[in-house]
Symmetry: C2
Subunit: 417 residues, 2 copies
């Protein structure tokens, strides 16, 4: 018992390709870091498209954008569909962007067929999901959900010492609405899987029931700068040798908690970084993830033991972020699974390996996600790729689920009087 | 049978402290990279001091500077005393600078006592000894000695893409004299040991009979950028994990060839260097040194074996520089040892652990070095320190040796007719 309306896959694909021109890189990917000039251009284009689709676009103090297509009943909270438009430095065309433009395609398809919904439909673009420029990731959806303070977010600083507030003001996307004040009845996020599971099983839809937990660390290893030629190996305090041991341990600890556990050192800086000076200081990040919070705690204990055991250098290990595993709203997951079954797509229930804005929003708003496969499970990579048919299928699931939630008022809480 | 003249240790010390103001760092060291604005200021001050001491200052096409105090006999080749004025990014006050200003102090002391020498005395400042900005180290003394081509040196590029020739022109120290055309009868270099040996043995003079061999490598490790959360450990090609294994191997290989062998990874760059992306590319340097060229070859074979054995990533290992061990001129070493004995300083014969301009110049000109202790053997570090008395002692040895070489014409080849 679903609508026979189908979204326009070609229009969705062309919108994705048009958006990918902004911050395009030489190997087919996108480098559109949050709050850069390119992010501003992308936000302006998104605003233009939404307004052309009859939506009213607003944004809050952190630049989280909400494009509203009104519903019949103003007393119902809106059903939100979205993700993020920012990318990694060497990111792809689909991570985040797909969820935003799939939401827009749902609105465009509703317009094509003159469908009125009870609850309003809103398309959302969350600020700084990637965390590549301003750590941590999912920062502004986190503030929306009350996981971070506004002030904490506004004062995050990038590698060049620029803070989030300055950059938000600079590109003109600092709104007046308090972050979190914009009530939503439900939030649905469509996303590429960013992993190999669906592809391996020839399935095209992942019904996502939750997200794994994450712990992020900043590590500083302090040794002693010295001459690389005349300092005997015995007398050295080489910060990079000590760092290399810890990096190897990150892999070992993740493997010890496999197959779900993962551990990554993605960012590393050596000081003074001169080829004939023994490094006196190395700074790097650690990213641990696991669907089970107890396993994540064990990984935390293990890396602290490794840091404490280091003798050749001083190791400072600070956990800068802990995001426990999240379980999505059963009614929203149900709406997505029902739509997927009705549309006849091969699918599976799964837990998200990556963090997503949905994992933050779920702490405040009934939430679920739809995954589609990506080639070789590759993401955060210029070669990231998803098949147009799969993207269209995910968007059709989003359309049917949004229609269900927005037209069965029972599912949607009323706006507080 | 030595002169009873002694150099002025206070004047030497104050000159060192004055020079250390140029590019001074907050922790007491110097960051005066070659061919920067600070290097220009240091060269100008050195020129002013030499001219005030009655010297004529010239420089060749690579900015190698020669300050000449004439001798009685213009047919004799000059006796050169010097080192370098450039430093590491976080360098000290003495590495290199001491050898140049000790040479200047010898000239000033000769003037104080109205001593005429048969051969001229020249104070030399070699360009880009450190190699911290333009690899390899000892570049311009290397061209002087015919180890490198002029064109190779002029086209070296720094991290910002600036080439040595541009920067040399920019600071106004590109001369007309071909590099290597400036004939020298002998070259003596005074330097801090940059190692712990003299200090450990309570000796204040090292009579340096040669230098150890060096091999420098550039390494590129290629993996695959991927998402740090949703890429299972099994499917990863993490370039930093592979790099960490090679860095650990560099230490192991050096220890296997101990106690003389040393191995260092001083410079490392991660790409894309984002905390939630598995690194797809890591570039780093390797610096291997050993007094025995056969051992150095064995270390080379060992690191190639490690690179070839890597399975998780592609490893490109390129040796960019091989400097075999060098043996100094017996007459010059003798002159330094005789002076040291006559002055009654506790001393030892030794091999230099660090590379020095003298190791390059020795391939073309009769050469030797004199070492003085530095605190904890520490160098390439802001905390680098040498005792004023030790610096004065080394300078007195330099003075006596220079006097011997410049007044016993028999030791000095005549200028070709």
């Amino acid at each position: 018992m679903i609508s026979d309306v189908r979204i326009n896959g070609d229009r969705l694909w062309h919108s994705l390709m048009d958006m990918a021109q902004i911050g395009a890189l030489s190997n087919g990917g996108c480098g559109r870091l949050t709050l850069t000039d390119d992010d501003q251009i992308a936000r302006d284009l998104f605003t233009q498209w939404c307004e052309e689709a009859g939506c009213t676009v607003t944004f809050d103090r952190l630049g989280n954008m909400f494009a509203r297509r009104p519903g019949r009943n103003p007393d119902l909270l809106p059903i939100a569909l979205g993700s993020h438009l920012d990318t990694q430095p060497h990111g792809g065309k689909f991570d985040g962007v797909y969820g935003v433009l799939a939401g827009l395609e749902v609105v465009r398809s509703l317009n094509d067929h003159g469908i009125e919904t009870d609850a309003a439909i809103e398309v959302v673009n969350w600020t700084n999901e990637e965390g590549a420029r301003f750590a941590p990731a999912m920062l502004c959806s986190g503030v929306y959900s009350g996981l971070f303070d506004l002030e904490f977010a506004l004062t995050r600083v990038d590698k060049d010492g620029l803070c989030l507030k300055e950059e938000l003001d600079r590109i003109g996307y600092a709104g007046k609405e308090p972050c979190g004040a914009h009530d939503l009845g439900a939030f649905l996020e469509a996303h590429i899987e960013q992993g190999p599971v669906l592809e391996r099983h020839d399935e095209i839809i992942g019904v996502v029931a939750g997200g794994q937990g994450q712990r992020w660390y900043d590590v500083v290893v302090l040794g002693c700068d010295a001459h690389s030629g005349s300092t005997p190996m015995s007398g050295r305090r080489d910060a990079l040798i000590a760092a290399a041991r810890i990096i190897a341990a990150v892999q070992t600890i993740a493997l010890d908690h496999g197959p779900e556990g993962v551990g990554t050192v993605g960012e590393l800086h050596v000081c003074p970084n001169s080829r004939n000076t023994i490094p006196g200081e190395v700074r790097f990040s650690i990213d641990f993830r696991h669907p089970d919070d107890n396993a994540l705690s064990a990984m935390d204990e293990a890396i602290h033991a490794v840091a404490d055991a280091e003798r050749d250098a001083e190791v400072q290990l600070d956990m800068i972020w802990h995001n426990p595993p999240v379980h999505f709203d059963s009614r929203c997951v149900e709406a997505i699974e029902t739509a997927t079954r009705a549309l006849g797509y091969p699918h599976r229930r799964m837990i998200s390996g990556a963090g997503h804005d949905a994992c933050q929003v779920a702490r405040k708003v009934p939430t679920a996600m739809v995954f589609v496969p990506c080639k070789d499970g590759l993401s955060h990579n210029e070669a990231e790729w998803a098949e147009p048919d799969h993207l269209a299928a995910g968007c059709n699931v989003l359309f049917q689920a949004a229609l269900t939630l927005s037209t069965h008022s029972a599912l949607v809480p009323e706006r507080p009087a």
